[in-house]
Structures are given as structure tokens and as C-alpha cells.
């Protein structure tokens, strides 16, 4: 079910501004890959090219190839809506649908894809909430608005919503940056469990987090403000944090800039 991502020669633009240039990398299935780098280096932009969310920003445009197993996401005749069903996403700030209950939030993706029996929906909602380690906290308030949960719970609700449609890949854009340390810990544990089933890509500002949760780490950087962001290197997390092959990576990790 989890799929391999193979990116080659990818450029992304905002209007005429080249935001990231010539990125190639492979993301292995059933692993966690972390993107790190200074602000504005294009790691979030790159993440959003992996489920064709980049092009919904006005002026957003992408060149290059993103292979999901053997299918190019940017090939002719590919339906971006179908892509986003296969490649789920969790955002920086928890964004449950404010007018929907906890239950409806989790079921939202399924309801888009057709009619299901109530019992089937119930099963999936429970399974997804359990998968997001949230079931025990919300099972008595499934019909309360999702926006009434705490920040950390909301974020796990968003994860439950994303995994309910059984995507192949789960993208996470700084999922813990708006959360307190305890909620962060809960999400990190969850990521460890989810990688058994999904290919996970996570953008993070927090290098300890990258070191804790990821199997591989990619370091992005930009030459100067206004220049496009580039992939500096990608390697096993252990290597990146102990013995990176590029000087800039070491400088960044040891806190000399960024």
C-alpha cells in the first residue's frame, strides 16, 4: 500500500519567481523522511509539489517529474484530485472543519468518495481515530464540534482524517510547530507507528525532532534571499547528524547558521 516517491529535475515557481530548483530524490516506502533547512529554503513548497497542492496557490507552477511508483503525478491526463486522495497531507496549524463534528471530520474524506453504510463509516472512523491515538479521548464526544478539542487533539484529528481514506503517502508540514511539548511527543510517537503502513514525509524546523522520528533526512538551503532553494543532500538520518558529507549541512546542524 505504501508507495515509493521518485522525484527528478523538479522546479517550482510562484509566478515568475523560481522557488525551488532542480530537486531530485527518492523517498522509500514505509519510512519517515524529514526535510530540514532554514526558513524560506523551499522545503514546504517542495512538500506541496508531492500532492499537487502547490498549484492551488495563485501563480504556483511546477516543472519536472514526481513518480509515485510508476506513475508520474505531473503526467498528461493525471487528475490532481485523485492524486490528493492517494497522497494525504497534515498542515502546520490544525485545521479541522469548524462546522463539522469530530465524527464528520474523520468521515469527510470517505463521504467524498461515495456512499458508505453507517456501520462501515463507524468502523473506519473508529479505526482511524485509534490509529491517530485519539479514540480514547474523543469516543464520548464524537458528535461535538472538532474545533472544541485542544490543539494537540485537533492535530491528531487531522491525522485521523488524513489516514481514514487510506492514502499511500502522508505528508506533514511542520505538524508540531503550533503544539506544546506533550502534544508534540504524542504526535512523534504516532509517526513512529504510522510508518508501518504509510510512506511519511515530514517538514520540521526542529532538528531534534528530525533526529528522533526520521529514517532519512534531506537538508535544503538557499544561496541568498531571493535565490531558489536547493536540495543540498539527503542521507540516512544518523549520517546527516553525525557525519554529513557537505559542510553547509554540518554548519546548519551544529547551529552555525539558520
Amino acid at each position: 500500500m505504501a508507495k515509493r516517491i521518485d522525484v527528478s529535475g523538479l522546479n517550482a515557481y510562484y509566478g515568475s519567481f523560481l522557488a525551488i530548483e532542480d530537486i531530485s530524490m527518492t523517498v522509500e516506502p514505509r519510512s519517515v523522511t524529514a526535510f530540514i533547512g532554514p526558513s524560506g529554503c523551499g522545503k514546504s513548497t517542495f512538500l506541496r509539489t508531492l500532492n499537487r497542492m502547490h498549484e492551488v496557490t495563485p501563480g504556483g507552477r511546477v516543472e519536472g517529474k514526481v513518480m509515485l511508483d510508476d506513475e508520474n503525478l505531473y503526467g498528461a491526463g493525471i487528475d490532481p484530485v485523485a492524486v490528493r486522495r492517494e497522497v494525504g497531507m497534515v498542515f502546520q496549524r490544525p485545521n479541522p472543519f469548524p462546522t463539522m463534528s469530530v465524527y464528520d471530520n474523520v468521515a469527510a474524506g470517505l463521504r467524498l468518495n461515495g456512499k458508505y453504510k453507517k456501520s462501515q463509516l463507524d468502523d473506519v472512523v473508529e479505526k482511524s481515530l485509534r490509529g491517530a491515538n485519539l479514540w480514547n479521548e474523543v469516543k464520548d464526544r464524537l458528535n461535538k464540534p472538532g474545533s472544541g478539542l485542544s490543539g494537540g487533539q485537533q492535530q491528531r484529528l487531522c491525522i485521523a482524517r488524513a489516514i481514514a481514506v487510506e492514502p499511500n503517502v502522508l505528508l506533514m508540514d511542520e505538524p508540531c510547530s503550533a503544539l506544546d511539548p506533550i502534544s508534540t511527543l504524542a504526535i512523534e510517537d504516532l509517526i513512529g507507528e504510522l510508518k508501518e503502513r504509510f510512506t511519511i514525509v515530514i517538514v520540521t524546523h526542529n532538528m531534534q525532532q528530525a533526529a528522533r522520528v526520521s529514517d532519512r533526512t534531506a537538508f535544503f538551503n538557499l544561496a541568498a534571499v531571493g535565490q531558489p532553494g536547493k536540495l543540498i543532500e539527503i542521507d540516512d538520518t544518523e549520517r546527516i547528524f553525525s557525519n554529513p558529507s557537505v559542510q553547509a549541512t554540518e554548519d546548519y546542524i551544529s547551529g552555525r547558521f539558520g
Partner: protein
């Protein structure tokens, strides 16, 4: 509550050595401040008095008329305030006002929401911007111009549609048409719809534009089509805004005078058909009957104006209530 009464217990003046302290402590009572506060509070009070006066005068004159009315003011189909005995009632006017406003709302609200979505979510950006700007300006076109256009351009164009409605839906009675110029409540409703469309569109557009990006992205990331994004995040978020915009439009439709007076060919009866000329609205009736009215006639018109006033008050109040109640669900706090 006001500044002047907050005068702190003036510290015993330590003599001429410290004039600065004294001035600072009594800042609120210096003449400049007092005059300025007086002026601005006076204006506020003036507004209050004005409203009270409006209510009082209208009630007084209306009561003069109603007390002499020999017919039932609410149910009579007559309008003969100068007759002996005077007989008049607002049933026809209330019917016409409400029916034409309902027609206007039924047409204008969905179309306005459509245009607002068109501007914010469908149109290419430049086209959307231009359309938004033009619609904004159209909101400023005075009703007299709508009336002129409605009476001279729209009315003749309605004939074909009327014939059609009569052919296919005439059996319902509501859409039966005897022929004759299309100066009926339906045409009035359509014209009112056009007039309130810019207002509803503008407000709805603003609300849709304020939908937090992250709610839309949440839907997109689940693999929602554009319509599903709108249904899941844009419409729920914008609902209260659209309702208040519609109420604003309804308020204008209820009170519209000139456009109705120019298009409608009035008569004092209620017809089952919306297509046949006839009927009337509160505002239109005041404008067209006013010229020949005596003092008693004017009082009767004032009484009908009073009813219109109360109806618009109720509509505006309802709008505010709906907004207040909806707020907790709107997610505006996100």
C-alpha cells in the same frame, strides 16, 4: 460613564508653585475638553432624539388616521381615506410588498452567491477583479435609473417569457396571464432582484474571500473537487455572512419606492396571478397617492408607512439575531 464625572478628588492645590500639577489633575474638566465632549455627546443624543421623534410623529399621525378608519386597517382591500366614512386597509399593500420581495430574494440570493463564488473561486483572477469592481459600482446606481430602465427596456422584453409561463404553467393560476403590458408584481420582483443583487454579491464576496486558506486546503488535501471544497469549507463558513447580506437586500427591496412606482401598474386588489398587472406596495402606494392626498389621505399614507417601518425593523432585527446565533458555529474564531 462619562469623563466629566470622573473628576478625581482635586488634590489640595499646593499653591502657585505647582500650576502644572493642577492642570494635569483637572485635565478632564478643562474648557476645551468639556466643549468637545459636549458637542460629540450632544450629537449622539441628537440621533436618539431624532429616532424617538420619528417614531412619535409617525405613531401620532398614524393613530389619527386609524382611529377614523371605518374598515379594518389590516384586512381591508379598500383605500378610500377621504370617503365618507373613510375606509382603508393595508392588505393589498402588504401582499404586494411581501410577494415582490420574496420573488426578488428567490432570484437574487442564489444568483448573488453564484456571482460571489464566480469572483472568488472560479473566474480567472483578472476577470474576477473586474467583475467585482463593476458590481461594486452598480451598487451605487440610484433606484430611479433602475426604474427608468425597468419601465422602458425590461417591461417589453418580458412579453415572451410571460407568454411562455402562461402556456406551460398557466394552469396553476399563479402564472396565468391575460395579456397586456408586463407591469406586474413578477416584473417588479425581477427588477428588485437586479437592484439588490450587487449588495448581496458584494457582502457575500467579502465573506467568501475571508474563508481561511487552511480550511480550503484541508478539503483539497482530502482529494475534494472544487465544488466539494466550496461545499465543505466555503459555504459553511460564509453562511451567516450570506444571510445577513440577504437581509440587507431584503430591507432594501421592501422599502424600494421609485423603481416599483415606475414599473408597476397599480390597482387595489389582490390577484392570484403574478403576471397580471395590478397590486401595489407600501412605498409605491405612498409615492403615487401622495400628490392628490388631503391631510386625512396623508395620515392614512403615514399609517401605512409606519407598518413598512415596523416590517423593516423586524427584518433588520432578525438579521442581527441570526448573525449573533450563528457566530459560534461559523468558525470565525479560527
Amino acid at each position: 460613564m462619562d469623563i466629566t464625572t470622573q473628576k478625581p478628588a482635586a488634590p489640595p492645590a499646593p499653591g502657585p508653585a505647582a500650576p502644572e500639577d493642577k492642570r494635569a489633575a483637572r485635565g478632564a474638566t478643562r474648557p476645551g475638553d468639556r466643549i468637545f465632549l459636549g458637542l460629540s455627546r450632544g450629537s449622539g443624543i441628537f440621533v436618539l432624539v431624532l429616532m424617538a421623534a420619528i417614531a412619535a410623529f409617525l405613531t401620532y399621525r398614524a393613530s389619527l388616521a386609524i382611529s377614523k378608519d371605518e374598515a379594518n386597517f389590516f384586512t381591508s382591500f379598500e383605500w378610500n381615506p377621504t370617503g365618507v366614512p373613510p375606509e382603508f386597509g393595508i392588505a393589498v399593500l402588504a401582499f404586494g410588498t411581501i410577494v415582490s420581495s420574496i420573488i426578488a430574494m428567490v432570484i437574487a440570493v442564489p444568483i448573488s452567491v453564484g456571482i460571489a463564488l464566480f469572483i472568488t473561486h472560479y473566474a480567472p483572477r483578472r476577470l474576477g477583479g473586474t467583475v467585482a469592481y463593476v458590481i461594486d459600482l452598480l451598487a451605487a446606481v440610484p433606484s430611479i435609473v433602475y426604474g427608468l430602465w425597468g419601465a422602458i427596456v425590461l417591461v417589453p422584453h418580458m412579453d415572451g417569457l410571460y407568454g411562455w409561463l402562461d402556456d406551460y404553467l398557466g394552469w396553476t393560476g399563479v402564472f396565468a396571464w391575460e395579456g397586456g403590458p408586463a407591469r406586474s408584481l413578477l416584473t417588479v420582483g425581477i427588477l428588485l432582484a437586479l437592484m439588490i443583487l450587487p449588495i448581496i454579491t458584494n457582502v457575500s464576496r467579502e465573506v467568501f474571500r475571508q474563508v481561511p486558506r487552511m480550511h480550503e486546503e484541508a478539503a483539497l488535501a482530502l482529494g475534494a473537487t472544487r465544488w466539494e471544497v466550496i461545499r465543505m469549507s466555503v459555504l459553511p463558513f460564509g453562511r451567516s455572512g450570506v444571510i445577513s447580506a440577504s437581509m440587507l437586500g431584503l430591507g432594501r427591496a421592501l422599502g424600494e419606492t421609485m423603481a416599483v412606482a415606475m414599473v408597476l401598474s397599480p390597482s387595489f386588489d389582490i390577484s392570484a396571478s403574478l403576471l397580471d398587472a395590478g397590486g401595489g406596495t407600501f412605498a409605491q402606494n405612498i409615492a403615487s397617492k401622495f400628490n392628490e392626498a388631503t391631510v386625512m389621505g396623508q395620515d392614512a399614507l403615514i399609517a401605512s408607512g409606519m407598518v413598512l417601518f415596523v416590517i423593516t425593523l423586524l427584518v433588520n432585527g432578525a438579521a442581527r439575531l441570526i448573525i449573533a446565533r450563528r457566530k459560534e458555529y461559523s468558525g470565525a474564531n479560527a
